[in-house]
């Protein structure tokens, strides 16, 4: 069976990543498409993560910052999640859950505990142009409620909260 290139029409052998004639990528050709009449499936599979990003949800800490400082910021700004950076690289994430599991009732002096001792290391992240379904999948598979959104160079852009996804869905529901 041959695969016809959607760009130049050349017939390529099956399994090639790029068209031999024009180098057009053939990878996305076999991706499943959302069914046309399904509003939700369309919304989640085609809308990019940037539709969820408000620009207000970003908090960044350093690995050496104390937990007392993190908690103070959470309380003042009513936030639940902070990204932990070391030398411009994302190394961890701290949310309320980490504080319950690794701080509450375990450490008495919060100013002596460092962010790097409490954080969940190497969090999964997404890019702005990824479809929302990527975020949904990461949250469902990993049980995360927050997923960092990063730029190509690893710089922090935002944190997508599970509520942002729910809100996005329910706003589609109301339009009906």
């Amino acid at each position: 069976m041959k695969i016809k290139c959607p760009s130049c029409g050349t017939e390529n052998i099956e399994g090639l990543d790029r068209c031999e004639q024009c180098l057009h990528s053939l990878i996305t050709r076999d991706l499943p498409k959302p069914s046309k009449d399904d509003l939700y499936q369309n919304a989640l599979m085609t809308a990019p993560v940037s539709a969820l990003v408000t620009g207000k949800d970003l908090l960044v800490a350093d690995t050496a910052d104390s937990i007392a400082k993190v908690i103070e910021i959470f309380q003042k700004k009513s936030k639940n999640c902070v990204l932990v950076y070391q030398k411009k690289k994302l190394v961890g994430i701290i949310s309320n859950r980490d504080l319950i599991r690794r701080v509450a009732g375990i450490h008495a002096d919060l100013s002596k505990v460092k962010a790097q001792d409490v954080m969940t290391p190497n969090p999964e992240s997404v890019k702005l142009q990824d479809p929302i379904s990527f975020v949904v999948n990461k949250m469902a598979m990993g049980g995360f409620r927050h997923v960092p959104v990063l730029a190509q160079d690893g710089a922090p852009i935002s944190i997508v909260n599970i509520h942002d996804v729910m809100h996005f869905l329910s706003s589609h529901q109301k339009k009906d």
Binding site: D17, R18, S25, I27, T28, L31, P32, S35, D37, D38, L39, Y40, Q41, L44, M45, A68, I71, E72, F74, Q75, S78, N80, N96, R97, L99, I100, R101, V103, A104, G105, L110, P131, S133, F134, V136, N137, M139, A140, M141, G143, R145, N161, I162, H163, V165, M166, H167, F168, L169, S170, S171, Q173, K174, D176
Partner: protein
Amino acid sequence: MTKPSVETLLKEKKIYQVINPKCVTTHPDVSIKQAINVMQENKSGYIVVAEHNQCVGMFTETDVVRKILGKDVSWNAPIRDFMTKNPSVLSPNDPVGKAIELMGDNRFYHVPLVDANGNLSGVLSVRTLIRFLAEFYPTEVFNLPPDPNQVMTQPEGG
């Protein structure tokens, strides 16, 4: 066989069909210390506070972080004073779509489920909902490499 659309599923699927049977509950008079122990043991971020099988409040990790950690609070105080009183509830017979709306609008992580007689019958977590939603999509979408257009410079394993 045609699959029903997500839209129909959200309206027709009931909460009791998707929930995880686990529900962590305590009495409102337990101390903060005990409550945090219960959360750590159960790996839960919430406790449904119930008295005589009636839900009277929710005590969550957000309450602990905002009202207790780093503050001058006695850890022997009862959670009654720190819980969120009279939380919004759902019925196990409500459609999943209603739960998504409530959680998205109010930013709840957990909502207690109360049956027609006012008895506590479970809890719905936002993560249960997202797992339910993730089942709607073809798995191939998620198994893509992070950058589908990446060209490998060496053969596999090289």
